[in-house]
């Protein structure tokens, strides 16, 4: 099995430099209309991509599919060489370790300080204490929180909490960073700082996917923009902008 996995990953890696591939992916929940309907999406290594759309457009479903929290009803999903429609349950943790995730509501452990929140991600993948002591301060410095490692989440501003969350997502050096509405709870100034941080992370080689509502930022940053509506991709532009939903 392990051998097959390696083979499959190699094959795909040789075939192209795509890190995320969705082929004709549909997802229908037990009730209601399909949340995703025949979606095709190809993202290359090192890209910075915005995914925009209103609520009900299928963005959240897409994120859940990419995390393998959900399985598609039909179609194929390949992320970093993992075939997510066929991946075994016990392989999922290993897959997710290459994926950094940032949420709108930060999801920090409230009873632990900044250092422990970031170290937590390393403990989970069984990094030695010695390495944790080296890695965590360095990543905290990258996100600009070197001086606040002892603070508890509630002592931090929203922007600072999101930086901790980003540090936690990055400390295991993932190939992809998924950010689900990372600025949804932040004021414009903090939102911009977080976006700049994500851009900087992308420049260092990490593929970054940002799901967002923030029109101003999307329009200003001139990145690839994938727009979704009612479960389908309605536009996919390099250096795109936020398409207003007028009709």
């Amino acid at each position: 099995m392990a051998k097959n996995d390696v083979k499959r990953r190699k094959k795909i890696a040789v075939a192209n430099d795509e890190i995320i591939t969705l082929k004709n992916v549909s997802k229908a929940y037990a009730t209601g209309a399909p949340a995703l309907n025949g979606v095709d999406l190809h993202i290359k290594k090192g890209e910075f991509v915005f995914i925009v759309g209103d609520s009900g457009s299928g963005k959240s479903t897409m994120i859940k599919l990419l995390l393998r929290e959900l399985v598609p009803s039909s179609g194929e999903i390949n992320v970093m060489g993992y075939d997510l429609t066929r991946i075994r349950h016990r392989k999922i943790p290993k897959f997710r370790r290459n994926l950094g995730i940032v949420f709108q509501d930060f999801r920090l452990l409230k009873d632990r300080n900044v250092y422990e929140n970031v170290a937590f991600a390393q403990r989970i993948i069984q990094v030695s204490n010695k390495e944790i002591k080296r890695n965590v301060p360095s990543i905290l410095a990258t996100v600009g929180l070197a001086g606040k490692y002892k603070a508890k989440p509630r002592q931090l501003s929203g922007g600072e909490q999101q930086r901790v969350a980003i540090a936690r997502a990055l400390v295991n050096r993932p190939s992809i960073l998924l950010a689900d509405e990372p600025t949804g709870n932040l004021d414009p100034k903090n939102s911009w700082e977080i976006m700049k941080l994500l851009e900087q992370i992308n420049e260092n080689g990490t593929t970054v996917l940002v799901v967002t509502h923030n029109r101003e930022i999307v329009n200003a940053m001139q990145k690839r923009v994938v727009t979704m509506k009612k479960g389908v991709i309605v536009s996919d532009e390099e250096k795109g902008g936020y398409i207003d939903d007028e009709d």
Partner: protein, 298 residues
């Protein structure tokens, strides 16, 4: 698993206990209450069992022989008795011995008036059985043996002792099963509440890529530690209570204490302590592992 991970997991398990003080206390109280009842029951049971056993050991069947039976036939009958599977041991009581005992027990100084042994034909075998329930079969057999005049037995005692034994077995199995089920149910509820508090933490762990094992381990260790504490408390309490109760009965009811030999506190606790610990750890383990499993499907 790395050693540092192992210690981290244990440490998290311990920290979890303190982090959710009230849930931990509720769980410990639950297990303690169940194991306390179990312990009390166990102590009483062991004493009843010991009393019944002592009583059983005293139950015997006595056979008397036909008048003028030969000494050879008595030996033959003795050999036949020895071959029976029911028989644990037998004792031959000669006519002289029977008379001596009778004199001492019932006659005292009046015995001097007798010059001949009035119990001349009262030699007997006193037969002790492996199991009281075997008595009817043995008696039926003995009654058919040639040369035996009379079989004396204690039917009522035997029947009631067998009954008590069976009753004790059923009741103990029943009570242990109920207590175990109740504990697991209560623990599972407590862990569920504890987990819903930490659902977010479990979610984050799963998103970051923690294996099920890594996610589950601190909860399981927490459950087992709670189980250990929950077992030690009632065992300690019962130890103190048991000692006091026995002391009280021995002094206040000296007459009973001659009849009933209580099982020593050491005998009870060399069994009760490991059983309680195993049950406590088992309840904690099962309760936490089943509950975490339900919540791991992220």
């Amino acid at each position: 698993m790395r050693i540092s991970t192992f210690f981290y997991t244990i440490k998290q398990g311990i920290i979890n206990i303190f982090r959710n003080k009230w849930f931990s206390l509720a769980s410990i109280a639950t297990i303690s209450a169940c194991l306390f009842l179990f312990g009390l029951f166990f102590a009483v049971l062991m004493n009843v069992d010991s009393i019944v056993k002592t009583a059983q050991e005293g139950v015997s069947v006595t056979v008397f022989f036909d008048e003028g039976i030969s000494q050879e036939r008595i030996v033959e009958i003795g050999e036949m008795i020895d071959k029976r599977p029911e028989v644990a041991k037998k004792r031959f009581i000669s006519a002289e011995e029977a008379w001596e005992t009778f004199k001492v027990e019932y006659l005292g100084e009046y015995a001097d008036g007798f010059t001949e042994n009035p119990l001349a034909d009262s030699a007997s075998y006193e037969i002790y059985m492996n199991d009281v329930s075997m008595q009817p079969a043995l008696v039926t057999y003995l009654e058919g043996v040639e040369g035996i005049r009379l079989v004396n037995r204690s039917e009522v005692t035997a029947a009631s002792l067998t009954g008590i034994n069976a009753l004790i077995a059923y009741v103990s199995i029943g009570i242990i099963a109920i207590l175990f089920a109740v504990s697991i149910f209560l623990i599972s509820n407590t862990v569920t509440i504890g987990i819903s508090v930490r659902k977010e933490e479990i979610n984050i762990m799963k998103y970051i890529g923690a294996t099920d094992f890594f996610t589950r381990s601190p909860f399981v260790i927490e459950g087992m530690l709670i189980g250990i504490v929950g077992a030690l408390i009632p065992v300690g309490i019962i130890y103190v209570i048991y000692n006091h109760v026995i002391e009280y009965i021995m002094t206040e009811f000296a007459s009973i204490s001659n009849l009933l030999a209580f099982v020593s506190v050491e005998t009870i606790f060399t069994q009760l302590l490991p059983i309680s610990l195993i049950m406590g750890v088992g309840i904690g383990f099962l309760g936490s592992i089943t509950t975490v499993r339900k919540h791991l499907k992220v």
